[in-house]
């Protein structure tokens, strides 16, 4: 029996090989890849170190008191406005929905897990420019990323089956798809009627035991919740244990970074942070990786402004914080005669990707996907507060009867779409609001492009038609409106070959600061069709290879 290496504790004043800010979809993978390759790594994670057994089926706390989000806007101070001429205010619901916990948002996400397709990386060339936007091609292609999508499949653990128009894959899914639920059966029924194509949903959830981890027990608490058996393929379940087992990765939980320092040579030298007791600390580093998510990464760069970098670190382009993309969404709801009990098991088991590609005949840019899921009928409070048809009184006997009747019989068809990159959608530092550590809060300015909203409505029309064709006894929708919050935080430090119009290069290295790497949703150039986490993880595996190669060539 080999003994486990002890937990390292790296001194603050001796430069460690890498400091990684964030332990989520990207940070967890980079930490595992670099530490197992022999580098010393310190992870700074602002959330606590929850383990699988700490996750609870407590809807009130998790969904309505923002337990995993670190306490919501009261703690984060985040503010929101649609347009730059408004004063941003703190809304009740957090605008940028990300988990503060080891594993980051990979711990609480719904685990829908789509690869991008070839077109997502070169759509600007395939179509045309779109006035008033920063619509652009990626500097990398699907073919360059494909080996890393496959690496995610096999290292993280992905369940699924190929669909008819999926991107090329070099290796099959490691695990079969999750069995179809009633919502999926009904979507298939509607799709058959309408001549559309249903396919199984891929999941970052284990349909069978894999790599020493347990399979899904169908508890139903995927969306917003952490997985108590570790079947959800979060970095907490799949990567962090390997990073720690290397003996070279120190996870400092409840440590909130507030500044990246640079030295006289313009290189990142130290990350300053608040430790769990609120003391200011600094970890010196040979290189720094920010994987803090599409809001926190640009925020930290903006907080790191100095005389040498007056507009924020790594921001000579002015693109830090710009081009925020949420993915627009729409919902169509239906009730059926018999119980679906769709609150059991994973959210989504069937999707339709017939509208993935943009089609000029629609009169607007965009593409997206449809999925069938319980959504509002996944948990009771959500159902009562959000899931009722508009023709039902909001309180009283009729309200109660409707909740009681619909909960087990209801499902939704969710449309998720592209978002266009625009200057007006961005992350800046709020001039007034501060978070619980005293750091300037993120101010989100966001208004979906009209084409994104049109695409969301287009998908919602199809959702309504599908519910009708599937035999819903009642179906309803609310008009698509500009989004005010999202868990998809994309595009705010985009990658590109031109330092004038991007923040990092194709290897995730900052154009301005040679030993500073940014890798997370902020790296995206386009938004994809609504499920970004698989691509964040693939980018992280690829970035790790590029960083290891640069280190081997002594080129960091």
């Amino acid at each position: 029996m080999t003994s486990m290496p002890g937990k390292p504790s790296f001194p603050l004043d001796t430069p460690v090989d890498f400091v990684i800010v964030g332990s989520g979809s990207a940070g967890g993978i980079l930490a595992k890849e670099l530490s197992t390759a022999g580098f010393d790594v310190v992870i700074l994670e602002q959330g606590p170190y929850r383990k699988a057994a700490d996750f609870r089926h407590d809807e009130l706390s998790v969904i309505f008191r923002d337990e995993l989000l670190g306490g919501g806007t009261a703690a984060s101070g985040q503010t929101f406005r649609h347009d730059a001429d408004e004063t941003a205010v703190r809304p009740r619901r957090q605008p940028a929905q990300y988990a503060q916990t080891v594993g980051g948002s990979s711990a609480h996400f719904t685990a829908n897990f789509w690869r991008f397709r070839d077109i997502d990386f070169r759509e600007r060339s395939a179509l045309d420019s779109i006035a008033g936007t920063n619509f652009a091609d990626w500097p990398i292609t699907y073919d360059e990323l494909e080996p890393y999508y496959t690496k995610v499949d096999w290292e993280i653990g992905v369940s699924g089956a190929p669909g008819p128009n999926d991107a090329r894959r070099s290796k099959p899914f490691p695990l079969p798809p999750m069995p179809v639920k009633s919502s999926g059966v009904l979507m298939e029924r509607g799709a058959k009627e309408l001549g559309l194509t249903c396919q199984p949903e891929p999941h970052a959830i284990l349909s069978q035991p894999f790599n020493g981890r347990a399979a899904c027990i169908n508890c139903g608490y995927c969306m917003f919740f952490g997985c108590e058996v570790g079947a959800k393929s979060s970095t907490l379940a799949a990567m962090i244990p390997l990073a720690e087992a290397s003996g070279r990765c120190e996870i400092r939980a409840e440590c909130a970074a507030y500044r990246v320092e640079t030295d006289a040579n313009g290189r990142a030298s130290e990350v300053l942070y608040y430790d769990p007791d609120g003391n200011q600390r600094g970890q010196k580093a040979k290189a720094v990786i920010l994987s803090a998510n599409g809001v926190e990464t640009p925020r930290l760069l903006l907080m790191s402004a100095s005389a040498r970098h007056p507009d924020g670190l790594a921001n000579s382009s002015g693109f830090v914080g710009r081009n925020l993309m949420f993915n627009a969404h729409s919902v169509a709801n239906g009730v059926f005669e018999e119980p679906l009990n769709d609150y059991k098991g994973v959210q989504v088991t069937r999707i339709i990707h017939d509208f993935y590609d943009a089609d000029p005949a629609r009169g607007f840019y965009g593409g997206g996907g449809l999925d069938a899921r319980p959504l509002w009928s996944a948990t009771p409070i959500l159902h009562a507060l959000e899931g009722m048809p508009p023709d039902v009184p909001s309180w009283g006997a009729a309200f109660k009867d409707e909740i009681a009747h619909n909960f087990t019989r209801q499902m939704s068809i969710v449309g998720s779409t592209t978002s266009l990159a625009q200057d007006r959608n961005n992350v800046t530092l709020d001039p007034e609001s501060r978070d619980r550590w005293g750091r300037p809060a993120a101010r989100i300015t966001y208004r979906d492009h009209d084409d994104d909203l049109a695409m969301a409505t287009f998908l919602q029309d199809h959702g309504m038609a599908l519910l009708d064709a599937a035999g819903a006894t009642k179906a309803w929708r609310r008009p698509v409106e500009p989004g005010t919050n999202s868990a998809h935080l994309l595009g705010t430090c985009r990658m590109g070959d031109d330092p004038a119009t991007s923040v990092v290069n194709r290897d995730h290295r900052s154009h301005d600061v040679p030993n500073l790497f940014l890798c997370d949703g902020s790296s995206f150039v386009t938004s994809g069709r609504g499920q970004p986490t698989m691509t964040i993880m693939a980018l992280a595996f690829r970035a790790a290879d590029r960083i290891k190669a640069a280190a081997a060539a002594n080129a960091i």
């Binding site: 089926h57 407590d58 809807e59 009130l60 309505f64 008191r65 069995p179 179809v180 639920k181 009633s182 999926g184 059966v185 009904l186 298939e188 029924r189 799709a191 058959k192 249903c198 027990i217 169908n218 508890c219 139903g220 059926f336 018999e338 119980p339 679906l340 009990n341 769709d342 609150y343 059991k344 098991g345 948990t379 009771p380 409070i381 159902h383 009562a384 507060l385 909001s394 309180w395 009283g396 006997a397 309200f399 109660k400 009867d401 909740i403 009681a404 009747h405 909960f407 087990t408």
Partner: protein, 193 residues
């Protein structure tokens, strides 16, 4: 409709017609009586409230009971929602306590007596007048939370709320098939496409 009257009303034991009552009815009458006794007993315990006085508790319980009324199925009263509200106003929502007490006084003043002492129709009329305001909205949220959140927060006694809607969420693990349509597809009764 007073507190006590709501409690002693056993209307929901009466009929199987209403939707969602199935789980309750399968429990049988003795189990039902026990649930109701437990909920009422706890609520009527003079020491049960952490921050609410008896009058405020009666008014809030009455409001909750109009939002989720007791019909032929249980409502906010049977779920002990008032205990959730009391616990929340003493803890996570303590900031709202002064507002709630002030608004209750205003409500009582507007109806010329205690809200809880009105009959159901008069209570509904009074609530209809304030339903777009922040006070009703707050009590509404607390009622839904108290009916459907975990029992450890004080409400959803004996999982009354979950049983009403057919949610067995506390079980935690499930085997396929889950519902009617996936079972049908699994049996091959219909072509799932």
């Amino acid at each position: 409709m007073s507190h006590q009257n709501t409690c002693t009303r056993r209307g929901f034991m009466g009929g199987a017609a209403a939707t969602g009552a199935g789980a309750f009815l399968r429990l049988g009458a003795p189990a039902l009586a026990a649930i109701t006794q437990a909920a009422c007993g706890a609520r009527d315990d003079g020491n049960a409230f952490a921050v609410l006085g008896a009058d405020a508790a009666r008014d809030l319980a009455a409001m909750a009971a109009r939002i989720l009324p007791t019909t032929d199925t249980p409502g906010a009263s049977e779920a002990g929602v008032i205990h959730f509200i009391d616990q929340a106003l003493g803890d996570a929502m303590a900031d709202s306590l002064p507002f709630v007490l002030e608004q209750l006084e205003a409500l009582d003043a507007s109806v010329g007596g205690r809200f809880a002492a009105l009959d159901a129709a008069a209570q509904d009329a009074a609530l209809a007048g304030i339903e777009d305001g922040p006070f009703f909205s707050l009590v509404y949220m607390m009622t839904i939370f108290g009916f459907f959140s975990m029992s450890r927060y004080g409400g959803n006694r004996d999982h009354v709320g979950w049983k009403l809607i057919g949610f067995d969420g506390h079980h935690g693990a499930w085997q396929y098939p889950f519902g009617y349509y996936d079972a049908e597809a699994q049996r091959g009764d219909v072509d799932a496409g």
